[in-house]
Subunit: 325 residues, 2 copies
């Protein structure tokens, strides 16, 4: 049994459910992740099997932390996770369809109270408690990964909306009659341009529009030309690859300008895979954002990258739900 | 002296400053406007002269209400009014330029505490306390008048943003590279399509695009073809006039769809002159809104007109600021 722990109930478990992997950790109230692990999300065909797998992976960590009496509860971030209902509802990127009463199932299996929210909201809470948004009462977190997610904080609180579904900024329409999003049927949503998939599609489009222009991107098969490959080419000075990030940043910046005029945040925090492109994405985004806001907002909103490691932000944010339980 | 008042400090003064007129009232805590009046906003060239005029108009009402000891304070709604600073900051539609420390000046003149917010926020608070949003914790108020304003409530609180300037939804870009807004230099903002000015411009555009089509709107000079004239023509069955409102509603609905995916409100409340068009504007707006939201939001957000008389909502909302003083 661990001896370093002075108070009972001094740990929270944070679980971040992604489309591919689930990561989790046991976190103290200062935001230190003491024990951590991961399982595959995809491997478990049924939700019951998944919860068994999760239990089997986390139980040893709970023992390492001194046993269940030291754990205050479990916080979970998941795509389409709804804080009010504790359910995952119609998540397009998960194997389990329909409405999954996840919080209830977790509590029943672990014998611990639990709370659920969507993954981007969890990351926003993590950032507010332990990261770049520490001390901020108004900020927006944008996750640029396989999809585009968002967590919005105003007056120091997450905006959940009347039904728990607020913050779907990835699905706002930025380019009317633009590119089709096959998952939603919408045309021109932020996600279909500014996700990893979006960068991939923009790269293919820009190559096709410039058939005579040489590009290192032509060394890749269409399938392999992912956002990382585009980044590598751009860093080698490839003109068209740079154009892909310029184009992506312009659309992101226009979207952010609209978000700024909605909630006037002190900062917008970018998070997720696309942030690895650094200034390649940040510079055009900032320029387009500033060009599209009213003068009263100009040069007032910080546009910054998350300070937390990607997996940590979500574990920390999910665990933070527990302190409110 | 009034004898019906049982408690001291039982009234609040609400002042709504518009570009043309200023209306005010003395309001009890149940939202009854007991005494009311109005002065011209434009007539006073200097802010000092305006405050004198306002004092001279309101002082008799204060006497009617029993004297200053029965007044808890003064709440003011004004274009570009900032709750945090108590100042009107760079209001394009007011005669007084730059930063006007209005709350401080009012308090000094009247000897009463005061609070300031922007006019659309005041209307939203009025609607929440006494109107269609009673009991709602998440809603958006859109004012469709000379301009397009907004007040956003989430978690039962006004979203003010880190600097007090949140809720400038009229300036979000809905039609990229669209119509120029001469006041802001932006292209395609909501306000330049869905304000009274926007309807006027759309009517002229639609007439010009259909030179061979007959229309009652051609009986008006370009200058006189205001939103009321377009409405009158549409009610007489004029096809092109109906098209103007269809077009306006489609753009408004697309904008509202984006706002819904931001804060997932229980309702969007429309307010101001354009609401007089009733179903002519409401129907296409609702259709476009529903068509552009993700399925999880569909048929969940009420789209309704304000239940308060136009001048009352702002007086009530402004006065409501006082109860928090």
């Amino acid at each position: 049994m661990a001896t370093a722990i002075s108070n009972s109930n001094s740990y929270a478990i944070g679980i971040d459910i992604g489309g591919t992997n689930t990561v989790f950790g046991i976190v103290d109230s200062r935001g230190n992740i003491s024990y951590r692990g991961a399982i595959s999300t995809k491997k478990s065909e049924t939700i019951e099997k998944y919860i068994d797998d999760l239990y089997n992976a986390i139980q040893p960590l709970i023992e390492d932390a001194g046993g269940k009496e030291y754990i205050k509860g479990i916080g979970i971030g998941a795509p389409n996770g709804n804080y009010y209902t504790g359910s995952i509802e119609y998540a397009p990127n998960l194997t389990w369809k329909g409405i999954i009463p996840l919080s209830k199932m977790i509590t029943s299996k672990f014998g611990l109270p639990s709370a659920l929210t969507n993954d981007a909201n969890a990351a926003a809470v993590g950032e507010m408690m332990y990261g770049a948004a520490k001390g901020m009462k108004d900020f927006i977190m944008i996750t640029l990964g396989t999809g585009v997610g968002s967590g919005i904080v105003a007056n120091g609180q997450l905006i959940l909306g009347h039904d728990g579904f607020a913050g779907e900024l990835g699905h706002t329409i930025i380019v009317p009659n633009g590119r089709l999003h096959p998952g939603t049927g919408a045309h021109g949503s932020l996600e279909i341009y500014c996700s990893a998939t979006g960068v991939h599609l923009s790269a293919l489009e820009i190559l096709e529009k410039n058939p005579k222009e040489k590009s290192l991107m032509r060394d890749y098969t269409a399938e392999n030309l992912d956002s990382k490959a585009v980044y590598d080419c751009a860093m080698k000075g490839d003109k068209l690859a740079k154009e892909v990030y310029q184009f992506t940043g312009e659309i992101l910046g226009k979207a952010l300008a609209n978000f700024v005029m909605f909630s006037s945040p002190a900062a917008i925090i970018l998070f997720g895979g696309l942030c690895k492109a650094g200034d390649l994405i940040l510079k055009p985004t900032k320029e387009a954002m500033e060009a599209n806001v009213l003068p009263i907002f100009r040069n007032k909103v910080k546009l910054i990258f998350s300070e937390l490691k990607e997996s940590d932000a979500a574990i920390l944010g999910a665990s933070a739900l527990v302190w409110d339980l």
